[in-house]
């Protein structure tokens, strides 16, 4: 078993003439929490999709726990232990919260997943886990509601529940607090913080405070390339990072 949960080598992807990610060597040790930050268009979301499998690289490789997954489709990576949330809330809006979670738990169990003759709610081991998860994440009160009837913060939590329901080893969070109210964001950060430590987390984040609070290490990307990786304190004081952001901020303000 590799000591790295995620390891990329010379990972590059081009869309037409545009190089979105250029020769990135990323190494995230197992159990670490890594934030990828950077100005808009830095390639962080693409990087994220490369790891999750939504985007295939033009060249280079992606390894998860030592296994080369470069050519694996999304669902195969999920089975290899990768979970993800989406930047825009992506839930099954017409199913109840319980059914959302049931599907997530069942997704990790090939036998259940492929069953078409027995009702989804009649699998005791699935039900037990669903009940646990709903309790643990304070969703038991709204279990019969549909996701659209929940607050946005609750929807984001439900996303994380779905992503981690299958006892995954690597969690990819795409801007978890985007669009969430300040108070709910606090709650969400605490929630993420309280996830088990053996779970490796990679998050793409716009909000610097959130990134600095959650992450053990931070990778800063600029123009599709890795600028610097280091612990939050080092990053905070790094001149290149300040320049990259300030340059961008001025641009944004204009």
């Amino acid at each position: 078993m590799s000591e790295f949960a995620v390891e990329t080598e010379a990972l590059t992807v081009r869309f037409g003439g545009l190089t979105a990610v250029n020769a990135v060597d990323l190494q995230v040790p197992t159990g670490h929490r890594r934030a990828i930050i950077g100005p808009n268009g830095a390639g962080k979301t693409t990087m994220f999709n490369l790891i999750a499998g939504q985007v295939r690289p033009t060249s280079g490789t992606v390894k998860l726990h030592g296994q080369d997954v470069t050519s694996m489709p999304v669902q195969a990576r999920t089975r290899a232990g990768v979970a993800r949330t989406f930047q825009i809330t992506n839930l099954f809006d017409e199913l109840t919260v319980t059914d959302n979670v049931r599907l997530a738990v069942a997704g990790a169990d090939p036998k259940v997943r492929r069953t078409f003759w027995r009702p989804l709610h009649r699998f005791p081991h699935i039900e037990a886990r669903v009940d646990d998860l709903l309790e643990q994440w304070d969703l038991a009160d709204v279990r019969d509601e549909r996701p659209i009837e929940l607050s946005y913060g609750q929807q984001r939590i439900l996303e994380i529940v779905l992503a981690t329901a299958g006892e995954q080893r690597l969690l990819l969070l795409d801007e978890p607090t985007a669009g969430v109210s300040k108070r709910e964001a606090e709650n969400l950060v605490d929630t993420i913080d309280s996830l088990p430590r053996e779970l490796t987390i990679i998050l793409v984040e716009h909000d610097m405070d959130v990134a600095f609070r959650i992450a053990d290490e931070i990778t800063v990307m600029v123009n599709g390339e890795e600028l610097v990786t280091g612990p939050p304190d080092t990053i905070r004081g790094d001149d290149r990072v300040i320049e990259a952001y300030l340059g961008r901020d001025e641009h944004d303000a204009a």
């Binding site: 999750a52 939504q54 669902q75 199913l95 049931r102 997943r113 492929r114 009702p119 659209i148 992503a163």
Partner: protein, 344 residues
């Protein structure tokens, strides 16, 4: 404060009403005319066809306009099998299930890369190709003349009368309808609905989305073929019109009029439309014109279907009781189907 909540009381009332309805349908031969029994048989067969169709349409969110292919396939299996060849009735049913499933799987594979109106056109093209075969392969199908003389007695255990035939139809429709219900509540069935809501999320949960799309068409095709067998038996006849695209359009209307977001939607829709047809035919030959108007008016004024209206009422009632507003969500359910589907 009584021990029975209004919700529980209503649920009980609904169950009693459904039970009474079921008894009335089964006991219909004791008080209905033979013409009415015929109408009920047609409703039952179309209801099964609608249930099969709605696995792909209402649950899966894929607008097929080619389901007549499965329906007609079933009809020709019993037509060619029992009139032209000498195949046993059990074999007919097995063949219908298997070939319906195989054709369904093929259509499922063909439509994997399509969305919205492209699914519609593709399924239509497949059905038209089969319709062309039925029309032109005269040696097998007798072409436009169709195959007449399908024995109703074949599917009836024991003595074949109008009544025993009706009961056989009811029993078969109930059995296969229950199988569809069972399937839709299974993990695979729920995943098919989930795929409609968000294919990317489903894939991220470890499901191979394409397998569930194909699965939806496979089960749908098999059951639709059974409905086709029953329809041909009911009419004692099968012809190219069983495969015509208007049949596909009609089954879509069953689902929409009843409420595509609901399991019982196609049943209610089939009952409503067949009854309407019988009633209208009583005083005019212009049934097709009335049907056309029904299409337009339903879509403009009742896009969520009859059950959608009922559901909205129920929610509004509950909201009033609880003293707060609950947004009607059935409108959203039908929006998921009828809204801006992916054109790209």
């Amino acid at each position: 404060m009584s021990a029975v909540t209004p919700e529980a009381r209503n649920r009980l009332l609904l169950r009693v009403a459904l039970l009474v309805l079921a008894i009335a349908v089964v006991a219909a031969p004791y008080f209905a005319s033979s013409f009415q029994i015929g109408v009920l048989s047609r409703i039952a067969v179309f209801a099964l066809f609608g249930l099969a169709f709605n696995i792909v349409f209402g649950a899966g969110g894929m607008p097929s306009l080619g389901h007549a292919a499965f329906f007609g396939l079933g009809g020709y299996i019993i037509g060619i099998g029992t009139v032209r060849l000498d195949v046993g009735i059990i074999t007919v049913f097995v063949l219908a299930l298997v070939l319906g499933a195989v054709l369904g799987a093929i259509v499922g594979v063909l439509t994997l890369r399509s969305h919205g109106v492209y699914v519609l056109l593709l399924t239509l093209a497949v059905a038209q190709a089969l319709w062309g075969l039925a029309f032109q392969q005269v040696r097998w199908t007798r072409g436009d003349n169709g195959i007449a003389g399908i024995e109703r007695g074949l599917i009836v255990p024991g003595e074949a009368t109008l009544v025993t035939f009706y009961w056989t139809i009811l029993a078969l429709v109930s059995i296969f309808g229950a199988l569809v219900w069972w399937f839709q509540r299974s993990p695979a069935g729920v995943a098919i609905v989930a795929h409609r809501e968000s294919a990317s999320r489903l894939a991220a949960l470890g499901y191979r989305v394409s397998a569930y799309r194909i699965g939806a068409f496979t089960v749908s095709g098999a059951v639709a073929a059974i409905a086709g067998v029953l329809y041909a038996t009911l009419n004692r006849f099968v012809g190219p019109e069983n495969l015509a695209w208007t049949m596909s359009a009609e089954v879509m209307l069953f689902a929409i009029v009843g409420g595509a977001a609901f399991f019982a939607g196609p049943i209610v829709g089939a009952a409503a439309l067949v009854t309407l047809e019988v009633w209208v035919s009583g005083f005019t030959d212009r049934w097709l014109a009335v049907l056309g108007l029904t299409y337009i008016l339903t879509m403009l004024f009742m896009p969520q279907g009859i059950l959608g209206l009922v559901d909205d009422r129920r929610r509004a009632w509950r909201a009033r009781r609880e003293g707060h507003e609950i947004a009607p969500t059935s409108a959203n359910a039908s929006d998921a189907l009828t809204g801006t589907g992916g054109m790209s």
